[in-house]
Amino acid sequence: MKTDIILAGVGGQGILSIATILGAAALEAGLFLKQAEVHGMSQRGGDVQSNLRISSNPVHSDLIPLGGADIIVSLEPMEALRYLPYLKPEGWIVTSTLPFKNIPNYPDEEALMAELHKCKHLVAFDMDAVAKEVGSVRASNMVLLGAASPYIDIPQNDIEKAIAKIFGAKGEKIVEMNIAAFRAGKAKA
């Protein structure tokens, strides 16, 4: 098996913790992986992305080739579209529909959604709203991870175990809330 994932968002939104959890889950499942990210200047409210490649065979390149991604996982609708050239023709976009507007020329939302809905395989909803229902907006990245999980070839149990491990230091309540967010996202996918 092999899943190539592009994680997208805006600096500070928390896409890198999704990468950390999937990485831990893949390691637990005995899979090979590479995960490239960019630190530094781009993290200051700019667009950020991470290439995550999970496979039962050794992974060569840290970067996903154009047209090679099985799924784009994004916390922001415009950011999901930024990586369209990397998506396979049959690939999935899983994204939050809540715009993050920190630029003066943010596009017209209707036009943006229309463009997004041109994608054949799309899961799009307001992740923040679902996260709020189960506890806290801060768990919106776990809602996203849940929504994306059916399209990622890692045992679901290993993902939940990884969530528990990564948030373990913050106490049981935080773990429960994040797992609830993950399951709520999965139910919406």
């Binding site: 960019v38 530094g40 200051r44 409210g45 579209l81 596009p107």
Partner: protein
């Protein structure tokens, strides 16, 4: 015992050094090298052993401290971003003359595509220039393994070893098999040949021919290095040389089954005999390397005697930006279309609904308030010029501030403002952060003080090295005294809190000191919002 860990390239190397008996880590933060030393600072074994890992003031002081530890027989590394090696160039090049005693690794992390840097310089040229060996890991496992290997190589040849990273290895995670036990540190011991360490002409003249001799021996070692290999291949039309992470992109294109013979290079000097073997067997050569065309240039020479040599100089691979699996695929498809079919076209980014999202100063950042007051002050002058520097406040060039006219290198704000003032420019204002000031601004300030240059220098102090993620800044709590000590006139040395409520006061102060025809310094202070949040969380715990 071995175990599997998921590590960034930077972290894999850091753990490798600890497990190989490291005694000292020396560094100034710089993307993408920062995480190497941060890993040492947080590692339990490193803490227990009290391995040195305090940040240095700049790359030159870091390099010299590491050399001092090596002199005493212990294993040390110094890490920096590629442009940091420019700052450390003097001790680096001369460390080839002194050599090393305890294993000494000099890590330079290059940033092709300039994700967070001002240029794409390739550190392999420095190793070549200094006549030092270099290692270029192609994956996270090699990054780990090369720490122990590099220390051994360094101690065997009594020479520092350059380790070249690139962004896509530094900041990419992979599964790495690591040792569960750390080897003991070296005991303190002095070099056998003491004369080498005193670089007076009489000693250097004796040393230089030996260094050249060593270089030839290093080339022999590179031919049998476990990190260099030549595969047989079945299609002799093309021989491929792939170095560092370029090797991964090549394997991506062929899914590990390249029909052409491949020479993988991850240890330098270039193993000439292996290149010769490859060249003898094949009709043409292709060099795939991340960064500048170092190997290609060496093979091509100025007379271009090797016409069937492809790479970046010949135009088959892009000359700028980082390599990608797509660039490598396109290149091979253009040379041998029967082996690799051209890529299928992929959809474009829908530009009408996808706008650029550039980075920006955080909300609640003191640099913002400094810029607001400064640009409004400057409106009163006909032709003001503001000389910027390297850090978060470099973002002040972007909208909505458009506040700075130049950004060149660490510390250049002060000295360029001075030069501009020498040319008759007024107002000539420099803006520099606290960490950049103690890195390379203090000596320039001394020049401006000694000539009482007509400049205003604003030190925008946020008590941290912000852009790289909030590492300790070496001048925190000392900037006023440093300026006083260097000799700034106390009547023209001020401190002010860069808060929105002080907007009018800041403007008045800026104006007063711009109108003073001499050297003045204003230290504007406010803790970085990112580190302030982190500190608040720690207190809550």
């Amino acid at each position: 015992m071995k175990e599997k860990r998921l590590l960034l390239g930077d972290e894999a190397f850091a753990l490798g050094t600890i497990n190989a008996g490291l005694s000292g880590a020396y560094a100034y933060p710089g993307t993408p090298s920062t995480e190497i030393t941060e890993y040492i600072q947080e590692n339990p074994v490193a803490k227990e052993r009290r391995i040195h890992s305090h940040w240095s003031s700049n790359e030159k002081t870091a390099m010299e401290s590491a050399l001092g530890m090596s002199y005493c027989g212990k294993r040390a590394y110094v890490a920096m971003k590629h442009v940091g090696l420019n700052v450390a160039a003097d001790p680096f090049v001369n460390s080839a003359m002194t050599g090393a005693n305890g294993g000494l690794l000099v890590v330079a992390a290059d940033d092709p595509s300039m994700h967070s840097s001002q240029n794409e310089q390739d550190s392999r040229f420095y190793a070549d220039f200094a006549l030092l060996p270099a290692l270029e890991p192609s994956n996270q496992q090699e990054a780990y393994d090369m720490a122990a290997y590099g220390f051994e190589l360094s101690e065997k040849f009594k020479l520092p070893v350059l380790v070249r990273f690139v962004t896509r290895l530094s900041h990419s995670r992979g599964v790495v098999e690591v040792d569960t036990e750390a080897a003991p540190e070296n005991a303190l011991s002095y070099p056998d040949d003491q004369r080498r360490w005193v670089l007076m002409p009489v000693n250097s003249k004796a040393r230089y021919p030996k260094l050249i001799e060593d270089y030839a021996a290093l080339e022999k070692i590179a031919e049998t290095s476990p990190f260099n290999s030549l595969s047989a291949g079945s299609d002799m039309r093309l021989g491929i040389i792939a170095s560092g992470i370029a090797y991964n992109y090549l394997n991506e294109v062929f899914d590990g089954k390249c029909p052409f013979p491949v020479l993988k290079i991850s240890q330098y000097p270039i193993p000439t005999a292996l290149v010769q073997q490859l060249s003898d067997r094949t009709e043409s050569l292709l060099v795939i390397e991340e960064g500048q065309p170092f190997i290609e240039q060496k093979l091509r020479g100025t007379l271009n005697l090797r016409p069937r040599l492809y790479g970046k100089l010949s135009g088959q691979l892009p000359r700028t930006g980082e390599l990608t699996p797509d660039a490598v695929r396109d290149c091979i498809a253009s040379l041998c279309p029967d082996v690799i079919s051209p890529r299928e076209t992929t959809p474009d980014v829908p530009r009408q609904v996808v706008m650029p999202r550039p980075p920006a100063l955080c909300q609640g950042c003191g640099h913002r308030d400094v810029y607001h007051a400064l640009i409004d002050t400057m409106k009163e002058y006909a032709s003001p010029r503001v000389f910027g520097d390297i850090g978060c406040y470099t973002l002040g060039w972007l909208s909505p501030f458009n506040a700075i006219d130049t950004v060149v290198d660490m510390g250049a704000s002060i000295t360029m403002a001075k030069g501009a003032a020498d040319a008759g420019q007024h107002p000539a204002v420099a803006i520099i952060g606290d960490s950049t000031f103690t890195h390379s601004g203090m000596t320039g300030l001394l020049d401006a003080i000694n000539e009482n240059s007509n400049v205003l220098i604003i030190i925008s102090d946020n008590y941290t090295t912000g852009m790289t993620g909030g590492q300790d800044s070496q001048g925190t709590g000392k900037l006023y005294e440093i300026c006083m000590g260097l000799g700034v006139d106390p009547d023209h040395l001020h401190m002010i809190d860069s808060l929105p409520k002080n907007y009018e006061d800041m403007k008045a102060l800026f104006k007063k000191e711009i109108d003073y025809p001499g050297c003045s310094v204003i230290i504007s202070e406010r803790e970085c919002i990112q580190t302030a949040r982190r500190h608040a969380k720690q207190i809550k715990k």
